[in-house]
């Protein structure tokens, strides 16, 4: 590709008056298209997942779906303005410590939704990991984080016993955990919280490589913001990371 056509040089052709730091909502052109494509794909995956979780009796056509959807949104509508408030006071409680108390079960742990309890109760470890949905931990709520890490660790242990730990399920679970740790782990490495010694080295390295590649790909797909000037070196590195992520 001729140098003048390379997207890395696009900033040199930007119109006057474009300020640095504009949000994607204000962006036009290829970057916005890229974001839309990425979001559309992610939404399609989420819609499929929702279909999978919906019981058959609730899939009787659009009319049923609408009736249930309307019911759900009506129930939420009343509290829409308060929706961004922190979820439930129980979320801030040290639920891991409570789970450890003798004679307690998951049903006794406050702050877990019914869906989360159900996720915890899956006997098949692969299924349990696949469906494990880490909740949004409150900032600094290490107990919640550790609680979920422990649940994942249990599931990994079960997988190990079943000699089923080399599959993509374990890799995917560890990848998700890396993402979770990056958000809520307080800057500590994952092995600060989780003993992964029972996990084969291949799974660990595949998960880490996959996590990094996903991160780079997401960053690459977002593209640069209008008006941001990246150095030639940074542009070369970004292109290289994207190539690695595609492999």
């Amino acid at each position: 590709m001729p140098r003048e056509q390379m997207p890395t040089d696009a900033h040199e052709e930007e119109p006057e008056g474009v300020e640095e730091g504009l949000s994607p909502a204000e962006g036009q052109g290829p970057e916005a298209v890229e974001v839309s494509k990425e979001v559309t794909e992610a939404l399609a995956i989420q819609a499929e997942e929702a279909d999978r979780l919906t019981p058959d009796w609730a899939k009787k056509g659009r009319r049923t779906e609408l009736a249930l959807g309307l019911t759900a949104v009506m129930a939420l509508g009343a509290c829409a303005p308060a929706m961004r408030a922190p979820v439930g006071p129980d979320r801030t409680q040290p639920i891991f410590a409570q789970a450890e108390k003798p004679g307690r079960t998951y049903d006794d742990i406050p702050g877990l939704t019914a869906a989360e309890r159900e996720n915890m109760s899956y006997r098949n470890p692969s299924e349990r990991i696949a469906r494990l949905d880490f909740p949004k931990a409150q900032a600094g709520d290490k107990d919640t984080f550790v609680f979920y890490v422990t649940k994942l660790e249990d599931a990994l242990g079960d997988l190990s016993e079943n000699r089923d730990l080399s599959g993509s399920v374990a890799v995917d679970a560890l990848k998700r955990l890396h993402r979770f740790n990056a958000k809520y782990g307080g800057g500590k490495p994952l092995n600060y919280y989780l003993d992964t010694s029972s996990v084969p080295e291949k799974v660990r390295s595949d998960a880490w490589t996959g996590y990094k590649a996903d991160k780079r790909a997401a960053k690459g797909a977002r593209g640069k913001k209008r008006g941001t000037r990246y150095s030639r070196k940074a542009q070369r590195q970004a292109a290289s990371h994207e190539r690695v992520a595609r492999k």
């Binding site: 994607p24 609730a58 949104v73 929706m83 019914a114 869906a115």
Partner: protein, 95 residues
């Protein structure tokens, strides 16, 4: 997308962050996906022994369906709210 869903999405601030060019299309898809997620979250928590009753009420267009679901699904408000919260966070991460 139901008008009520649009209202909920407005309250999350998500729609303001969408790329201007494809805002309408994306908003529609986001709304539809959110509805699916809410339906999944709600129906997967309906106790098995109450399913027949829910179906019957839906067939009869029962105007108290919402109230009935609130009674039989434990923490039903929190489940729905958590679903919206998680969904908002996931979509925000993509923008």
């Amino acid at each position: 997308m139901l008008p009520q869903t649009k209202k909920i999405l407005d309250s999350t601030g998500l729609l303001e962050k969408l790329p201007a060019e494809s805002k309408d299309k994306l908003a529609e898809k986001i709304g539809e996906t959110l509805e699916k997620k809410l339906v999944a979250a709600l129906t997967s928590n309906v106790p098995a022994d109450k399913v027949a009753e829910v179906e019957q009420r839906m067939d009869q267009n029962d105007s108290n369906l919402e109230q009935y679901l609130a009674e039989i699904v434990p923490n039903h408000q929190e489940i729905l709210r958590q679903t919206v919260d998680d969904f908002t966070q996931e979509v925000e991460g993509l923008l």
